[in-house]
Symmetry: D2
Subunit: 328 residues, 4 copies
């Protein structure tokens, strides 16, 4: 039985708490959040208690921590957890600053603990089926990857301001998908971007629409298009063209209803946002974390993966800001 | 907190036990099954114990029973549960004999307990969305209902022999869908049927392929086609034609992958069988049962519904055996 | 070069005239229609002239006639054409009276001419691909056929009155599809039907919604559902369940646009009605007729096929009127 | 009646000849091709004769010419046709050299003749429906355009060598789609590209896979991905994200058959290549040309459009060769 502490009682923290509760070999002991009400409520729901950060790391019984708190707390918590020898599950990004993220990776390596990064898309049934089928050779050699990643609506401006920018906040997942699906590294990154939705986003120094092109070391090509707003909901698709065919990941819908009326043949919109769309992915991800801790599986989203995705986000940011192609 | 006893530790019993475990207001206390090993394993998984039937009904603390055991035990258990004043959730059918099923309904009525029948399709996200949209008037007045219901493969012959025949075993769900969707009752039933898959099914006195037509009291038409074998898996669809349009319920697939190869554009087969396909329906159904017991909802699949579906199954059986249209 | 005469300058006559014009080995010489204006216009469009029926059959140069005139003229024209030794293409039905239709078939046989019936669905790209794939064994042995056949709207009441009823007017095509796809003959026919759309149709002695079940001599099952009105347009689908899989014929749409908006993911309605939906089928059908006359192909929709479909329509009418299952 | 001369009796010449034949106000008089056999056969099929280029331009009766010959003949023929006052339909590209293409545009302007460029995609039912719906405001303001354009297989190396490179040969259509759909002009062009299919293409100085990003003067973004080989056939899709939704153009398939077997739910591959896929577009395009000549419509794909697309192709070629973002 692994006793766990969860940092962050927000939306994603609740999801992870629920998934920890489903693990027979794990028990949620502490919930930590500066918002005491949120912490207490989530702790109560799972028979846990609230605690201070100090108490968590001082408690020898704690085997693992889930870091689902604000981005600016991730690095400190990783460093403290590594120092205390706790196993770590951490939401992306490691940190907005690459140097600091590297320090975290180093600390984790020195401590010899697991630090799994929450790139949940790798655990999504549709996405992971594509990975499996590529590996099985169904489409020959993958040559091009086209990723479409659009949110249903832009977050509030204060969120934008502290997000590190769209590339580190939103595309970091797409950069991880790129590395995971093509099993290749970037040679060049070109990011074009615009503020088309809300000028307040531009005023905050960010953009809301991007078009990224990555060329890999082996000459393969990846295009990523993103938007902070899709009127029709959360749009999460990609397609891989290989020498022998193509695999497409489509959106998931709440039901399989088709309606025929005087005007159209209509189906459901995609599931609204990440909490619904990636419900199964989050469950699979947490199950993987505990399987790793139990020695049954090898961690699939390492802190190195987190670092590499961050480097791509940094390069894309530079490419956009300086209007040039960035060599990796 | 409602303490529960679950009869039957088979496939469907396990599903229900898991869903009871998820209810905050319920606790599984007993699991009863002649197969002691199965009963013990399921009980252990949920912190329950095994018990005899006598002990269950003698235990005043038990508030509800889930009857997921063999069909021939359903009526006795309903009668005993009603006599003991327990709330009842019972898998279909009530009994293979209509008279005995009626006695159960009478006993339930006299006892004043709830007896919810496990017509889980009414709780499926796709199916229930269609019901909601019909009620909202999206397709005007429903006029015709076409139901396609095919299993991935025929059950073993011993199962066939004790099943009461395909109409009571398999189509009973489709008959309930008919009544629920059209909100109308049958005036005539015509069932044509054949044994096309395995002659051993004919030897067992049953058929494996059916084509049923129901005309309702208001002149609306329903066609149901079923087969014990669809090479491509579990096929569960229906469509409702109304004066202003049509709503179709399509199959659910495990992933949203589309594969383009030299030969075809291919998507996943439907989810294999009822345990996968109706996972959400089973969860919603059990949540409804406890919401009914808590007085928050009115029971949506009553023992009367079970009786009506059984009457349709009986009429269809007669129609097929005697080669005639049956007046209800 | 085969010189042709076309009877009937209505909607379907125009289609056939256009397709004859595309045949390099054929020439439209005469157009015959009591509506002189329509006859003249169509004749002019294709460099033909109008003529009387007598002149057509007296003209030795005429090799073939296309009978696209009112149903009540078909038999007389077939008999006259056969007597004159002309090759015949005739729209369905041969005649509303089976005896008279049989006389036509006999006359055609005696004359040794071809009489192809316009069951154009057999020549539709989607429908014929399914036939080809069944024959190739893709789904094993066909066991069940489900046909959905719905018009966008009911025809005027005067049309209904002279149509011979929905079974001879509308379902005759579905009956031919049944025979063609299953390559089997009916043993029993059961037709249930209602007037749900417009009571004036009932006043005219007809119905607008039908549910037909056919059992074949080898025990296979076919269900046909039809309606005179689908708010969303012309609905022409069927599916064949075989021992190794299923083949579905879907509707054709004008474009492949998908629109994602705030409310739905929407695609085009099906092509509106038979002239649009079966455009390719009509062209293929006429090409086949001339290929038959050129000795390159064997006629695929014979007058015997027309007779068999008519017998099924007659049986269905009886089944509906008398409320009984009809033995063939 | 406009008498026409058609240059080039190859695949696309045959298509255009057939479409000219369908025009009631046009007549094909001459077919010109250095391959005399091809010229004679095509001329014979349409009641035309072969001719020399000199004779065509000397024949006062000729009102229009269709230039479907090799790319390196286009400019000379445009200049000669303009000089002779003939109306011009010309396949893309005007010429591989921009200066020469500009000279052609100037000559056409001076002569006051129409010179329509064969950007047939604008006349495709699916593509043009999207344009119409954007203009109608269905998706608000268009913000991003994603174009997927893949051929079923690479052309022979000699073709590659004389093609002007993939950007001028293949993407020129996509560049026109970009301008047409977004109604905007490029500010920057970035083209990444690789040779992933056949190293002989690289040896010929070309690439076979490209990833292009265009930023428009108003800050909108367009991504184009192309490949010379899609194992599954001709892949021609695009999607437009707007402020209020998205419109997608999907592939067209030969039939609407869906096959369910033990392994998958499979649909047809896309129509194989441009002759099949754009059959309707070619017919609509030629009808438009004659409607323009008749003064009924305003030419929709002008020689200026041809020039602009060529400039984008040139910029993309430079971007790829020099590894930099090109300012327009």
């Amino acid at each position: 039985m692994i006793e766990c502490a969860l940092f962050g009682a927000g939306r994603i923290g609740k999801i992870h708490a629920g998934n920890v509760a489903r693990e027979s070999g794990a028990k949620l002991k502490y919930v930590i959040d500066p918002n005491e009400e949120a912490a207490s409520a989530l702790a109560a729901e799972h028979g846990a208690t609230t605690a201070t950060t100090e108490r968590v790391f001082a408690d020898k019984a704690i085997g693992a921590v889930m870091i689902c708190s604000y981005t600016d707390t991730h690095a400190d918590l990783i460093l403290a957890a590594a120092a205390a020898g706790k196993q770590i599950f951490c939401e992306k990004p490691i940190d907005l600053a690459i140097d600091r993220a590297r320090s975290c990776a180093d600390a984790v390596a020195r401590a010899g603990v697991t630090c799994m990064i929450g790139f949940q898309r790798r655990f999504d049934p549709t996405f992971s089926a594509i990975k499996t089928r590529i590996v099985a050779g169904e489409i020959g050699t993958p040559e091009m990857l086209i990723v479409t990643s659009r949110d249903p609506g832009a977050p509030p401006i204060p969120y934008i301001k502290s997000s590190g920018g769209i590339f580190k906040d939103m595309l970091i997942h797409d950069f991880d998908v790129f590395r995971w699906i093509l099993e290749d590294e970037a040679e060049t990154v070109h990011a074009n971007a615009s503020c088309l939705i809300d000028s307040a986003i531009a005023d905050a120094g960010d953009v809301d629409s991007t078009a990224v092109t990555i060329r890999t070391k082996t000459g393969r090509l990846c295009q990523i298009n993103t938007s902070r707003r899709a009127a029709y909901g959360y749009d999460q698709r990609f397609e891989v063209l290989g020498s022998a065919g193509m695999l497409q990941a489509g959106n998931h819908a709440p039901t399989q209803v088709t309606a025929y009326t005087k005007t159209a043949v209509a189906r459901d919109l995609p599931m609204h946002f990440f909490l619904e769309r990636y419900r199964a992915a989050y469950a699979n991800e947490m199950a993987h974390f505990f399987a790793v801790l139990a020695g049954k599986e090898k961690v699939r989203t390492t802190i190195e993966d987190g670092l590499k995705a961050l480097e791509l986000a940094e390069a894309a940011t530079t490419s956009w800001r300086e209007g040039r192609i960035v060599q990796m």
